[in-house]
């Protein structure tokens, strides 16, 4: 992720913003982002010792993971 952010920053800072304020990042490998989101959710739930939450993780799935962890104590 750090590498991804570095590249994105470089694209933004060194290459400037074009008229549409858009930059393609396909080459960077945007697949890192969903993983980062997933890890953030699991990290947030770690105190509860919640089980792994797979993505996509809509609110109901996260709520169920919390409920299951609390039930398991």
């Amino acid at each position: 992720m750090r590498r991804l952010i570095q590249v994105l920053e470089r694209v933004r800072n060194e290459l400037g913003i074009n008229g549409s304020e858009l930059k393609g990042v396909g080459e960077v490998g945007a697949i890192g982002l969903p993983l980062a989101v997933k890890n953030a959710i699991v990290d947030k739930l770690s105190d509860l010792r919640a089980s792994d939450v797979s993505v996509p993780a809509p609110p109901a799935k996260v709520w169920n993971a919390i409920k299951a962890a609390k039930t398991a104590g």
Binding site: P58, P59, W63
Partner: protein, 264 residues
């Protein structure tokens, strides 16, 4: 889409008479539910009776009550300075409906007549016990919403306006489906002279309903803390791919607390 004939009504009477003389006519308000239904061939009306040319149905009057004409769009309710000043919970609710297209085409009368179990307007109508006026009579919201997509409206009866009493305090909070912006759960809390009313949309199998145990607690003490130990039974609540009934039950209390906080 199946064939139908299009009729442009010039007045309420014209719309009613056109409906009477049609084989299986339906009124077209904003069309944000009806037109997709027709496109998918889920309905086959003989006539579409367009109400958009009836100027008298589009109005907002703010006095002792807030009276809104049936063909007033969500965007008009959301942007009305008078409503924002007297009952911001209502303009906020309208601002949160659907997307810009829905808000600019969809109407309050169409939403209330359709009584979608996840629509926002039924919640404010029931919480404030709004007065729903048709071409024939007046009804209070308590007597109007009969169940999912079901109302006390008779065949060929047309809503002309809806009047909302102005509460002491009120707020609406919803947990929207991120794709449709329909309410997974929406809770309208109103503190009236006669007591607190809490109306829940998006959750009930029979459409909008009042949460009486939350009302009792808020009548004792109008604060979010008074809801801390309360829960709603998941029985009779909707389960679908977006949320199962026990999650919705939990959301009802959470949204009610947020609404009370916002109203206080």
């Amino acid at each position: 889409m199946y064939d139908f004939s299009y009729k442009n009504a010039s007045s309420v009477d014209d719309a009613i008479n056109t409906h009477k003389s049609s084989e299986d006519g339906v009124f077209l308000a904003g069309g944000q539910t009806l037109l997709p239904t027709l496109k998918q061939r889920l309905a086959q009306p003989s006539d579409l009776i367009d109400l958009s040319g009836i100027g008298s149905l589009s109005s907002i009057e703010v006095g002792q009550v807030i009276k809104i004409g049936a063909m007033t769009t969500h965007a008009e309710v959301a942007s009305s300075k008078e409503i924002q000043n007297t009952l911001p919970a209502l303009s906020d609710l309208a601002e949160g409906i659907g997307d810009p297209q829905v808000r600019n085409r969809g109407t309050i009368g169409g939403s209330v007549a359709n009584n979608d179990p996840a629509a926002d307007y039924p919640a404010v109508c029931l919480a404030l016990n709004a007065n729903i006026t048709t071409n024939k009579r007046e009804m209070i919201a308590d007597d109007f919403f009969m169940g999912m997509f079901d109302t006390a409206l008779n065949e060929g009866e047309l809503i002309t306006s809806i009047s909302f009493p102005i509460p002491e305090k009120a707020a609406y909070m919803k947990f929207p489906n991120p794709a449709s912006r329909y309410a997974l759960v929406g809770v309208f809390v109103a503190k009236m002279n006669s007591g607190v009313r809490v109306a829940v949309t998006g959750a009930g199998e029979d459409g909008v309903f009042r949460a009486s145990n939350l009302e009792d607690a808020l009548n004792q003490n109008f604060s979010p803390e008074s809801l801390n130990d309360l829960s709603i039974s998941p029985d009779g609540l909707l389960s679908d791919i977006h949320a199962q009934n026990d999650y919705r039950a939990s959301l009802v209390v959470t949204m009610a607390k947020r609404a009370v906080t916002a109203a206080s």
